[in-house]
């Protein structure tokens, strides 16, 4: 149980001048989900590509179930599965043909090739669509097939590069359920994501990466304890009003309120209680927020609290804030 399925030590990779990985280290206990959390360009995909033997690191080492990814790539390839952000299946082949192709290329015996393809189509709810060309599939179906393709040879270690990016909420839930089932069966999963809630729901441990470095690590509970589990965002008519509100709200939560022009963000672990206090104080000061959102912390909040900057550089503060409010409202 304490055995590590994946061990990464001081991994480095650069592309010309750009440092993609600046010495990251972590290990993944067998039979668990491990989350690599970070914004676009943090180095998550680079790490996955090295671990799946697609590219070579410039320094450091990595092994999967004891096999070094550089020295023994063939052994690694036999025991891993990869499902990506861009559903890597052949649009001209049918779902069944895609799975059979992967079965053959992983050198399963012919009768297993057929059996596994049929099993997986049923398991992933694609049995009816199995004989249709994949180009007629919806985004969610393609993604399910992509995950199925990664599982044809029952790899004990699975790499998922942003498995739910761009999926609708229902497809996301479905995929999460499938990942949980795999882990229950003993599979080790390394998952990259931009969504804190996804890492929270699936992963036992998380590392947060930024510009090729690990900036935080721990269990989801530990990370959230730092942050609080509720974020309250209030938009005001102008910067002046917001400044007044900031003063009025001093000491309302164990965490300090942060102001960014006309927007105030407050995180708390006391949840709804704090919201009541906040509204009471604002009312007492005669201030009415123009917008109000209560949501779970996002990757961006983790970044703000650890690095003091946003996860992704926003060209202007204003539109970024608007987007966040819209996102909070949309319940993402």
């Amino acid at each position: 149980m304490s055995e590590n399925a994946i061990v990464v030590t001081d991994l480095q990779k650069r592309y010309g001048e750009v440092v993609a990985l600046d010495g990251i280290s972590f290990s993944v206990p067998a039979g668990t989900v491990f989350g690599l959390l970070g914004p676009n360009g943090a180095g998550k995909t680079t790490a996955i590509r090295i671990l799946t033997t697609i590219i070579h690191p410039d320094g450091g080492s990595a092994s999967v179930l004891g096999h070094d990814v550089v020295r023994d790539p063939d052994a690694v390839r036999r025991i891993i599965g990869l499902a990506g952000q861009y559903a890597a299946v052949d649009g001209l082949l049918t779902g069944r043909e895609n799975l059979r192709m992967i079965g053959r290329l992983t050198h399963l015996p012919p009768e297993q090739v057929r059996k596994r393809a049929d099993e997986l189509l049923v398991q992933f709810g694609l049995a009816d669509a199995g004989d249709r060309p994949v180009r007629t599939y919806s985004g969610g179906m393609r993604r399910r097939l992509d995950l199925a393709a990664a599982l044809v040879h029952r790899p004990p270690v699975l790499f998922l590069d942003e498995p739910t990016t761009g999926l609708d909420p229902q497809s996301r839930q479905d995929l999460w359920g499938m990942i949980r089932e795999l882990v229950a069966d003993g599979t080790t999963v390394l998952l990259t994501t931009q969504y804190l809630d996804e890492a929270d729901r699936l992963a036992k441990e998380i590392v947060v990466v930024d510009q090729g470095r690990i900036i935080a690590e721990g269990t989801p509970a530990e990370l959230k304890a730092k942050l609080g589990d509720t974020v309250i965002e209030m938009g005001f008519a102008d910067d002046d009003t917001a400044r007044k509100a900031e003063t009025a709200l001093e000491g309302v939560s164990n965490e300090r309120a942060e102001r960014e022009s006309a927007l105030i963000r407050l995180s708390s672990s006391a949840g709804a209680r704090v919201l009541v206090d906040v509204l009471r104080r604002l009312d007492g000061a005669g201030l009415v927020p123009a917008t109000l959102a209560v949501r779970e912390p996002s990757l961006d909040d983790v970044f703000l609290s650890i690095t003091g900057k946003h996860a992704e550089p926003a060209p202007e503060a204003e539109p970024k804030d608007q987007k966040q409010l819209a996102r909070a409202g949309g319940g993402r």
């Binding site: 149980m1 697609i54 390839r77 025991i79």
Partner: protein, 280 residues
């Protein structure tokens, strides 16, 4: 709890060595690419219409104005050139196919599988060779329909078609390199034309280089498309011989063409393989 799953992928397959495994993997990729071709018949139709238009245009529009030395009928001179042009244009499909696989992420998946490293490129060029066989047969039928005749015998003519197919295969590796270098099907298509145009049009494929300005004729005489077209002409008995000159032997013309094919393969196959290993 720690019922650690075990992979179904075997360490080694029974009864096949490394080469056998590479062959089976390549055949799987050939199958996959041919299925793709079969599901996009419109692509095959359009890529066949183009050379047919060339045949009709050169045979009936320009043909009357083009005189070939030695009294060779123009259609007999033209068709070997058309065969070569067809496989060269067709090998653009290799670039587009690989660039598409790169863009969709399928190449990345292949490279994470325990399959032979060579299989993706061998499978792609192999599938394109099969398509070329089909298109070459079709173009031969079109040729015979517009009056093309073989003046030697069937064996030599088939040998000529073999040289054409070998040349098409070698050319596929040039375009494999192009496709992997650009990594995007639209760009691959755009990048292919400047590679092909000077080779196909500034050659002996459609007209005798003797009619070209000296500097261009030098190029046209000494490049692979001309060499291949000339070899096919020699094997079909339509190599132009101006009165009072001694033609090169058929064997020397065929060897020259084959040497080009081998040379292209020796240079471009390793480049394409290196690009494949780095492509993400």
């Amino acid at each position: 709890m720690s019922a650690v799953a075990t992979s179904l992928a075997p360490r080694e397959r029974h009864g096949v060595g490394r080469l056998g495994e590479a062959t089976q993997d390549s055949l799987t990729v050939v199958w996959r690419n041919l299925m793709g071709l079969a599901r996009t018949p419109q692509l095959l139709v359009f890529s066949t219409i183009q050379p047919v238009i060339f045949v009709l245009m050169f045979r009936y529009v320009f043909g009357g104005a083009i005189k070939i030395p030695g009294g060779i009928p123009y259609v007999d001179y033209l068709m070997p050139g058309i065969f070569v042009q067809t496989v060269v244009f067709g090998s653009m499909g290799t670039a587009i196919g690989l660039a598409t696989d790169m863009q969709t992420g399928l190449l990345e998946r292949f490279r994470s599988l325990p399959m032979a490293r060579s299989a993706v490129l061998v499978g792609r060029t192999g599938a394109d060779l099969s398509r070329n066989v089909f298109v070459a047969v079709l173009m031969a039928i079109v040729g015979f329909a517009v009056g093309f005749r073989v003046h030697t015998n069937l064996i030599e003519f088939l040998g000529g078609m073999g040289v054409v197919l070998l040349f098409g295969y070698a050319f596929s590796w040039i375009f494999a390199t192009v496709g992997l270098a650009v990594g995007n099907p639209e760009t691959a298509q755009a990048a292919a034309f400047p590679v092909m145009a000077p080779l196909v049009f500034a050659s002996s494929a459609f007209v005798d280089p003797r009619s070209m300005p000296h500097w261009l004729a030098v190029w046209a005489r000494n490049q692979p498309v001309s060499a291949t077209a000339n070899a096919v002409r020699a094997l079909a008995g339509s190599y132009p011989v101006p009165p009072g000159t001694i033609p090169p032997s058929t064997v020397s013309l065929v060897l020259k063409a084959v040497a080009w094919c081998v040379g292209i393969l020796v240079v471009f196959a390793p480049i394409a393989v290196r690009r494949y290993r780095k492509a993400v």
